[in-house]
């Protein structure tokens, strides 16, 4: 099974390495034809303004929206969360308006205000997630139908899911965290072969299984 990583800019190599670690073949997506045959897509961290310009320039916005609407899992991390939001504080134009939330860019400040912390994220099991926030965004408004997956101790929302779209304000790929990618791979397998129940749940290389 193949999962794409939008490779316009940002933490591309780290997401591709994490996918390889869990037994999924990563595909670097730079042009619309790179989307053929992938069962999910990761939108990495980086600069959302850069990603917006490059995705527009290379005609990726429509095809990625189509992929998401077809039900393929989409994971956005950090800037990837900004680009999947339907609304951005300050009125910037949304890039892939998939997730009914409002995000604020650079919500914690500049590079110097970056930080790391451990967060409870029940969807991944009891062990907390080590979350690295770099010039990170925050979710200001959560629309109906959007499930909150994690909050900071001050209750601010930093991880959400709406059907097949998951967005995180932090960088799991920089912390050696594989459970989020395993969850996406599980969703991607279901998307790729929805009617095949031949494999016992939990036996694929990427399944959450015992490591969760």
């Amino acid at each position: 099974m193949k999962i794409g990583v939008l490779a316009l800019h940002g933490a591309v190599i780290e997401h591709m390495r994490t996918l390889r670690e869990i037994g999924v073949e990563p595909v670097a997506v730079r042009l619309p034809e790179d989307l053929a045959g992938i069962a999910g897509l990761i939108l990495p961290g980086g600069e959302s303004t850069t990603m917006r310009k490059l995705a527009t320039r290379w005609g990726l916005r429509g095809p990625i929206m189509d992929l998401a609407r077809s039900g393929a899992p989409i994971l956005g991390t950090c800037a990837g969360m900004i680009v999947v939001a339907k609304e951005i504080v300050g009125g910037e134009e949304p890039v892939f308006p998939l997730l009914d939330v409002t995000v604020e860019r650079n919500a914690f400040g500049r590079q110097l205000d970056s930080f790391e912390t451990d967060l409870a994220m029940p969807i991944l099991g009891d062990r907390p997630v080590h979350a690295i926030f770099i010039r990170a965004p925050i979710i200001e408004r959560v629309g109906p139908g959007v499930e909150v997956l994690a909050r900071l101790p001050d209750r601010r929302v930093v991880a959400v899911r709406q059907r097949n779209v998951i967005a995180l304000a932090f960088h799991p790929e920089l912390a050696g965290e594989t459970r989020i990618h395993r969850l996406v791979a599980t969703m991607a397998a279901e998307y790729a072969e929805p009617h095949e129940g031949t494999t016992a749940a939990g036996t694929e290389p990427w399944s959450l299984g015992e490591s969760a």
Binding site: H9, T50, K53, R57
Partner: protein
């Protein structure tokens, strides 16, 4: 991309730059002006920080940790401890572990890269001859770095001790590079990039990104050149796209052949 005004910074951001370097003068003007090149005016840096939403870098002189303290106090996103400015210390680089803000430092080979990483550099850029518009020194140094890494990756474990001695680099970092076959930090190519194909050449030789200094704002059409260099960096392995974006850009920066630069005026040899 190097910028000297808020207007430049906006052009760079619009072109798809993922960060800008706030400078009073681009390297080719620093080279032409001569004299002592120092940290830029904090007011100028703040003006650029206010103009764009992408990260802003600024340069401190090699070893000038107070310039670095000032830049950190301003809230710049990254500091470049740069040979383009006149070195302030001919023995010691800045102890970058003493700062929260990440640093980028230049190198000509693996040993120099690992010494900078050991001092706390979070990013490396292989040096070209800044301000010349001539890619030859950048090519020399990225090739040297990548071939040093490949050599290390092919060694037996018991050969790494002597390798560390010869590289004049810490053994633990040498061992890590040998095991992973890459630097433990992101590596950029800088110095002499003037046209889209230069950027793609740097990427094909193993860079993970490029710094473009004088090449943008010394060209005839900075906005188009900036955008084309961004696209060629992204599609570095797609010659058809590089050809397409290279059309009709006007004159690139005129430049000077790096080989004609007298030894005393060479910037890449600064740092050790």
């Amino acid at each position: 991309m190097d910028v000297v005004t808020p207007e430049h910074a906006r052009i760079a951001e619009d072109a798809g730059a993922c960060a800008v370097m706030a400078l009073e003068r681009v390297p080719s003007d620093i080279r032409a002006a001569g004299g002592v090149a120092r940290m830029s005016d904090p007011a100028m840096i703040e003006g650029i920080m206010a103009a764009v939403s992408i990260p802003v870098m600024a340069k401190a002189r090699i070893g000038h940790f107070v310039e670095a303290q000032v830049l950190e106090a301003l809230g710049v996103d990254y500091i470049d401890e740069s040979e383009v400015l006149t070195p302030a210390d001919e023995t010691n680089h800045i102890d970058k572990h003493a700062f929260k803000v990440p640093f980028v430092c230049g190198c000509r080979n693996l040993g120099e890269a690992l010494r900078r990483i050991n001092e706390g550099a979070a990013m490396i850029r292989t040096k070209g001859e800044a301000g010349t518009g001539d890619i030859v020194e950048a090519v020399r140094h990225i090739r040297t770095l990548m071939s040093d890494i490949r050599r290390l990756a092919s060694m037996r474990d018991d050969e790494l001790f002597v390798a560390a001695k010869e590289l004049e680099a810490p053994y633990d970092l040498v061992k890590q590079v040998a095991a992973e076959g890459k630097l433990p930090v992101v590596n950029f190519v800088a110095g002499g990039i003037a046209i889209p194909a230069d950027a793609a050449l740097a990427m094909q030789l193993g860079a993970e990104g490029v710094f473009v200094g004088s090449g943008i704002f010394k060209s005839e059409n900075p906005a188009k050149t900036a955008e084309a260099i961004v696209q060629a960096t992204l599609h570095f392995d797609n010659p058809k796209i590089i050809a397409e974006v290279s059309k009709g850009l006007g004159s690139p920066m005129r430049g000077i052949a790096a080989a004609s630069v007298p030894d005393a005026e060479r910037l890449a040899v600064r740092g050790w």
